[in-house]
Amino acid sequence: MTGNVMSGDGTGGMERHTYDVVVIGAGGAGLRAAIAAHDAGARTALVCKSLLGKAHTVMAEGGIAAAMGNRWPEDNWEVHFRDTMRGGKMLNNWRMAQLHAQEAPERVMELEDWGALFDRTDDGLISQRDFGGHKYARLAHVGDRTGLEMIRTLQQRAVELGIDVFMECTITDLFKDGDKISGAFGYWRESGRFITFEAPSVILATGGIGKSFKVTSNSWEYTGDGHALAMRAGASLINMEFVQFHPTGMVWPPSVKGLLVTESVRGDGGILKNSEGERFMFRYIPEFFKSETADTIEEADRWYEDKKNNRRPPELLPRDEVARAINSEIKAGRGTPHGGIYLDIASRRTPEFIRKRLPSMYHQFKELADVDITAEPMEIGPTCHYVMGGVEVDADTQESAITGLYAVGECSGGMHGSNRLGGNSLGDLLVFGKRAGEAATAYGSSLGADRPKIDEADVKAAAESALAPFEVEGGENPYTIQSDLQQSMNDLVGIIRTASELEESLSEIEAFKTRAKAMKVEGHRQYNPGWHLAIDLRNMLIVSECIAKAALAREESRGGHTRDDFPGPDAVWGTKNLVVNLNAAGTGVDLHEKPLPVMPDELKTYFEEK
């Protein structure tokens, strides 16, 4: 079943389906979850807003972090676990970080069983590359298009298994029977007709929230749908203040501002320079990483050849550190003509090497900016890339506080703490996708015939709510509200934050909410992007409010959250998560603190030894 097949029952009618597991989102996490659910015996539906295989996983470039030890036999899950926790500034859910580090290698091997063609080592094993924050070369990769390889492999596997895919179908509401999930409601983008899924288990795999920001590497889909659906169903989100700004996004031309430039450029030898030609990262090495970072250019350059006896170049610090440093340089007036800084690999590697290792980057700059990266430096700047926060879930099963509702991948929270290491996202999708698919199936089959039911009144309400933007007279165009929201979030809740700006942003969000109530869309229901945006905008607003509110509450700087008025980390804040819920009236966000889960003593030892 594809989104492009109209079923016979006329327009306007309601289409109904019954499944054991409904997965919302068909990126890496959704596909992996659907495959796992299918393998566990569930009748599985995979629902996605775009065509199959177009999800943002294709944009992932660098690789999948997995301690396979193909390059460095010293590498193992314990080192990976330690790197992940340190990268997240110890705010990670330790159990998720542990499971991820332990299970990622086998998940990568599975991809190979299903036809993925990774780059190889000389011994014929899967090659692994260096990335920021990882002690050893650990990222299984295919040139700089690993995400494409991963999604295509999973897609082909899902097709082989015959999983039902509902393409270009957007879920707008979840149904509950008491406190249990009973199904989901959505519309076909193509026809505008409604569709109801009856299922005891729903897995959210909707990705991130990047579209709330103006400069972002995310595409139109990333409007926080899963975050918002979970909140409306009564689940909570954690860590929403932590938004990762990737240090290297394109800054020019304007139409591609924010488009990602992979970290592999730095992993493969690229360096950062300001307009004075200074390799400035040496001035920004934080105390926390001093012992493992080179402090001279000579040592940093030696590291690429001899990793045992030298420390890593500061360009390969975790993303939050590098993004902040770049931001400071630009603010200090040492930026490039287009307001970025230089990322230079041309002067350090041969054109052949660059074209072989970074073909997509070469292509991207050549085609879009008319820049030959083998001959000249790139101009880059920070771009909103990833949200560490998401649905609060159980580490082992990915189940949220709502029975039958699961969340995986970027729309779940906890795994990455306050900052995600490059390469840990793809591993996250696979490891927890599989776990969620299996847990959701197990829960569904434990119910037997006694499944939660959908209340017809809820279906009617969902349909009315979806059609509401057509009913408004003389309201505002959703494109304008969206673009104002993006600008506001970029300016006030961006990479560097202060209390006054965050307060201002919260009041602006209130104003956007009012404007959105009077939103008007033109045309009819058939493939109408204006209407689609109007529906997505509600999610963007609620998620934006979560981010701003949590950012205002956390009075410290840590990972992806930097407060100008609280510049350092705070030990007390380091012991707690911020949790947000939809308020009782359903119009705003409530926030409370919650202590971190306690790490067992045997894991604590990894952080004591120096």
């Binding site: 594809t2 492009n4 775009s50 065509l51 199959l52 295989g53 177009k54 999800a55 943002h56 294709v58 944009m59 091997m109 190979e112 069983d113 036809g115 063609l117 990774f118 780059d119 190889r120 011994d123 014929g124 094993l125 899967i126 090659s127 298009r145 494409l148 390889e149 295509r152 082909q156 596997r157 097709v159 082989e160 193509e190 595409s219 139109w220 889909e221 020019w252 031309p253 304007p254 139409s255 591609v256 990602l260 292509h363 085609e367 879009l368 900016a369 008319d370 165009n477 494109y479 304008t480 673009s483 869309v521 033109e522 045309g523 009819h524 058939q526 493939y527 992007p529 204006g530 209407w531």
Partner: protein, 258 residues
């Protein structure tokens, strides 16, 4: 820097449609998709466009620009004269849904018909070994972003709707070639490629290669090698005799025809 761009955009659905004129302000460094988005945001809120990554990586925004199959997000306005009118239509091989959006389910149906990778068991240490030079050919094909521009431009189905059931198209010949060249695959897909997938329908006029935004050399590196492999299997009496008397190519041993 900025100027007013004249565009003609096809709007309509299966019941009919027309090229609609729009004038929209554009600026330096923009691509056709930017111009269309501005039309959408300011003049025609319900203009249907399928797009996603806007970076040439997802292959969603396939359409035809001045009659040529291209990605909207990778076609720079600087490729055109500022006085030129840019005409944008949906892909003309697939059924139109609305405006610039077409029903590409043909391709997803074809994907289902292809037997997937069939590996042998892993090595004793639970790993697999393949050499870089052996995977490189397949890696070129796996760069495919499934924009389906090759499928769209291929005259076998573009000009002959009746060929659709019997023809998988360049995108899937790429997949056949990838699997047939895979160092570990245990299936022999040559008979199937020639039969069910309709490889013989291709008359190698290379339009798929011409329009591929990833620069994959579809014809030279996938379709023709696949045709040659079919010749090995079906049209080369020397190899057939060789097989009969046991002079078989050891390189392809252990494969089973599907």
């Amino acid at each position: 820097m900025g100027y007013d761009l004249k565009m003609r955009i096809w709007r309509g659905d299966q019941s009919g449609g027309d090229l609609e004129d729009h004038t929209v302000e554009v600026s330096e460094g923009e691509v056709v998709l930017d111009a269309l988005h501005r039309v959408q945001a300011t003049q025609a809120g319900d203009l249907a466009i399928r797009w996603n990554c806007k970076a040439g990586k997802c292959g969603s925004c396939s359409a035809e620009i001045n009659g040529k199959p291209r990605l909207l997000c990778m076609t720079r306005l600087s490729d055109f004269d500022t006085s030129e009118t840019i005409t944008v239509t949906p892909m003309r091989t697939f059924p139109v849904i609305r405006d610039l959006v077409t029903d590409v389910s043909f391709n997803y149906e074809k994907a289902k018909e292809l037997p997937s990778f069939a590996p042998p068991p892993r090595d004793a240490d639970n790993k697999r070994r393949m050499q870089q030079i052996d995977v490189e050919r397949g890696q070129e094909f796996r760069k495919c972003i499934e924009c389906f521009l090759c499928q769209n431009t291929c005259h076998v189905v573009r000009d002959h709707e009746e060929n659709k059931p019997a023809f998988a198209g360049p995108r899937f010949f790429l997949r056949y070639a990838e699997l047939d060249m895979h160092p570990l695959d245990t299936h022999d897909r040559r008979e199937l490629a020639q039969g069910a997938a309709g490889l013989g329908m291709c008359n190698i006029t290379k339009c798929c290669t011409e329009v591929c935004p990833e620069g994959i050399r579809i014809t030279d590196n996938a379709i023709i090698p696949m045709k040659e492999r079919v010749v090995d299997r079906k049209y080369d009496p020397l190899l057939t005799i060789g097989n009969l008397i046991g002079l078989r190519n050891k390189d392809t041993e252990g494969r089973r025809e599907v």
